[in-house]
């Protein structure tokens, strides 16, 4: 269950952003999670409250956007949408492909509440 370590990293990263903006609270967190990142979005949602308790992100809403898999073929140079079990080029079936998206695990955006004073 490594989702907990991931959640701890998320909390520490958003806390840093919040502090640098003198925020009093983190209200929303937006993540991009690729199918090949090894992360289960549902588990991440369930685990997050344990990691965020008593931090600036205590009441933050976690938004997870799941990235689909796309590769670029190094032989025919075309791009194609692929599945987790087969990353071969959909056009020429070559397995010499490069992943364009699908293994990201990125903190994209945070929304903060700022004290007006």
């Amino acid at each position: 269950m490594h989702e907990l370590s991931i959640c701890n990293s998320i909390v520490s990263q958003v806390t840093k952003v919040a502090q640098s903006h003198n925020a009093t609270e983190v209200t929303h967190i937006y993540l991009n999670v690729g199918l090949l990142s090894g992360i289960e979005p549902q588990l991440l949602q369930q685990t997050f409250p344990f990691a965020s308790a008593e931090t600036l992100a205590d009441n933050a809403e976690l938004h997870i956007s799941v990235e689909s898999l796309e590769v670029r073929c190094l032989d025919c140079l075309q791009t194609s949408k692929v599945t987790m079990q087969n990353l071969s080029c959909a056009h020429c079936q070559s397995w010499k492909t490069q992943l364009l998206s699908g293994d990201d695990l990125t903190l994209a955006r945070v929304e903060l509440k700022i004290n007006e004073d």
């Binding site: 269950m1 490594h2 370590s5 991931i6 990293s9 998320i10 520490s12 990263q13 958003v14 952003v17 903006h21 925020a23 209200t27 993540l31 690729g34 090949l36 990142s37 090894g38 992360i39 990235e67 590769v71 987790m84 079990q85 087969n86 990353l87 071969s88 397995w95 010499k96 492909t97 490069q98 992943l99 364009l100 998206s101 699908g102 293994d103 990201d104 695990l105 990125t106 903190l107 994209a108 955006r109 945070v110 929304e111 903060l112 509440k113 700022i114 007006e116």
Partner: protein, 269 residues
Amino acid sequence: MCGVCGCSPSVNSVPNKTVVDVYEKILSSNDILAARNRQLLDKHNILCLNLMSSPGSGKTSLLEATIEQLKDQYRIAVIEGDLETENDAKRIRDKGVQAIQIVTGSACHLEADMVFSALQKLDLEAIDILFIENVGNLVCPASFDLGHHRNITLLSTTEGDDKPAKYPVMFRAADICLITKSDLLDYLDDFDTQQAEKNLRQLANVAPCISLSSRQPASLKAWLHLLIQTKQQHELALTNQKTFLPKMQNQGAALHKETHYEPTSTVLA
């Protein structure tokens, strides 16, 4: 500027609310520690290899056999990761090499800070090749950079040749794939070495794929050759102020700027 990809995080404020585009890789605290480990290893000319597989696929046996073959040529050390017991570290110490056991308790993978603590306990001046035997698990270890240079993923013949298709994240991270327990192939009707390699290739992985049995020293030849070659290439890289990064370094992040992501700013009503 963002320290990960060079994009410009934009900030938009309305009273009481601020939206910040961060676009930072999660796990970056682990990555920073991993980079520090790698620097430490490079400073001591140590090639560090991360062994990953399911439990019981023969990681410790492979290490015992490898140490036996190379102990006169290279000074080897091992960091062992297990949920419980010192058994594996004892087996390695019986071969006369340094071994540190990390007992993870309930944690299913090693992280860079655990490896850093273990490095403090090793005599780094007396090591040429360091193996990290990760916790037996085909899921989580693939997501954590430990500061090592190459991932070695083991697939034993008793597990079935479709493992790469079932665990794509792990097998995509393999820099070298070893099919172990090849001596059992005669008794198994459900493992086809070529099919296993085909399943690996379908993950767009060009890693060398070698069959071997730790019980048959003659079958280790190709693996030992590749290991020595990797050690020499790493030394050469170091003389050019370069190093090796394992495959888990995520290609998507490096490409996202040109292909997918445009930093945007949102103003909340």
